[in-house]
Symmetry: none
DNA sequence: ATCGCTATCTATAAGCG
DNA sequence: TCGCTTATAGATAGCGA
């Protein structure tokens, strides 16, 4: 799309990259939305800019359900994998952190020629694993915190709106009070019309009928 | 795209919907992948078909990126404390999972007399570590999900309240309209009082003064 | 950073095996 | 359900303000 074909590689020019990011991000969001509507499915999309800003799209109130489903789905999948002992092929070559860890361990072990490992090596391995776990944990926290922050913002927003509406209701309530008073007036006015009917015609000239719904 | 323009509404024909889902899903995955590569960002995409099958795409977390994120770790932790009252419950006591992992590794290593470890033992160790990581990950997810769910509930609650208040405002607004009408009545009523003052005393007997604030 | 433009490229709806 | 084809709608790169 666009004037020239684009290679599938990182756009090196920072400016172009940013512009492209903005456009494509919106495109992706739009398409995600279309998918949910057209095909009646649930979609959750999270995009983390290089600055760590989160852009997300997800099906209406169901993010919880989506993440929930995702969690149980993954757990199930991992258990299955554990017993079947084979990797599920992934079209885009992405890996979940656990897979990554497993692979790193494997790599580490391979690199160091297993049979020669001694106490020192194991100590090294231990610390590598420690680091990996810590990093995974951090990343996980960050991701979840983004979600939490987002929800927190939404909550604040809604609270503000609620407050505003409270005021509005209060104002409107005053009108209601006035309404009551005027209703009393109305009753008296109607009584007056009846009374007035007793008056002679010449005195009735300027009085019009008033209808109240 | 395609032969005809498509309305943004659920495709009713089941077959077309399925075909469309398949095509658009792949398109979305592809575009997500392009975005990650071209713009060098992280993307996570989850699609749940109506049958509950998960299709997902996500960036493999690169170590570099995670390391870069480490700086914000302290901040994140701080945020966590700030937003989430109380500490995160842990099945493993007060130790942080990473410490615990280290200890478990140590224990495992001690128990098995390091120097006798061979390939098989290391393989076992690797898998134990994998399991531990998984447990930690799952537990962490559960805890965070509770927070998210809680916030989600709060959000829903506030939305409901907002809706209720909306209705209230609407009702009150009707009163405001009635108020207007009655104000007209009031004007006429006052006019009538003036007119009525012209009438003779015997006809004025039943009319009282009415004050309106 | 964003907006508009438009030439081009891509995704995909419809149709056919 | 799938794959392939084709005409078109849609996305977007490049550029200017």
């Amino acid at each position: 799309m666009g004037r020239g074909k684009v290679e599938l590689k990182r756009i090196e020019d920072k400016s172009s990259r940013q512009v492209s990011f903005s456009k494509r991000r919106n495109g992706l969001m739009k398409k995600s939305h279309e998918l949910t509507v057209l095909c009646d499915v649930d979609v959750a999309l999270f995009i983390f800019s290089s600055k760590g800003i989160l852009y997300e799209f997800s099906t209406g109130e169901s993010m919880t359900r989506i993440l929930d489903s995702y969690q149980s789905y993954k757990e199930t999948e991992e258990l299955t994998r554990k017993y079947i002992h084979g990797k599920l092929p992934s079209e885009y070559g992405d890996m979940c952190p656990a897979d990554e860890l497993a692979e790193m361990i494997q790599r580490h072990v391979d690199e160091n020629n297993i049979k020669k490992l001694d106490t020192t090596d194991l100590y090294q391995l231990e610390h590598n694993l420690y680091d990996i776990l810590r990093l995974v944990k951090i990343r996980k926290t960050q991701v979840m915190m983004e979600v939490v922050k987002d929800l927190q913002n939404k909550e604040m927003q809604l609270k503000k709106e609620k407050k505003t509406m409270m005021n509005e209701v209060k104002v409107k309530s005053n009108f209601q009070l006035k309404l009551q008073k005027l209703n009393e007036v109305k009753v008296k006015f109607e009584w007056l019309q009846i009374t007035e009917a007793k008056l002679d015609d010449t005195n009735n000239d300027g009085v019009m009928d008033v209808e109240i719904a």
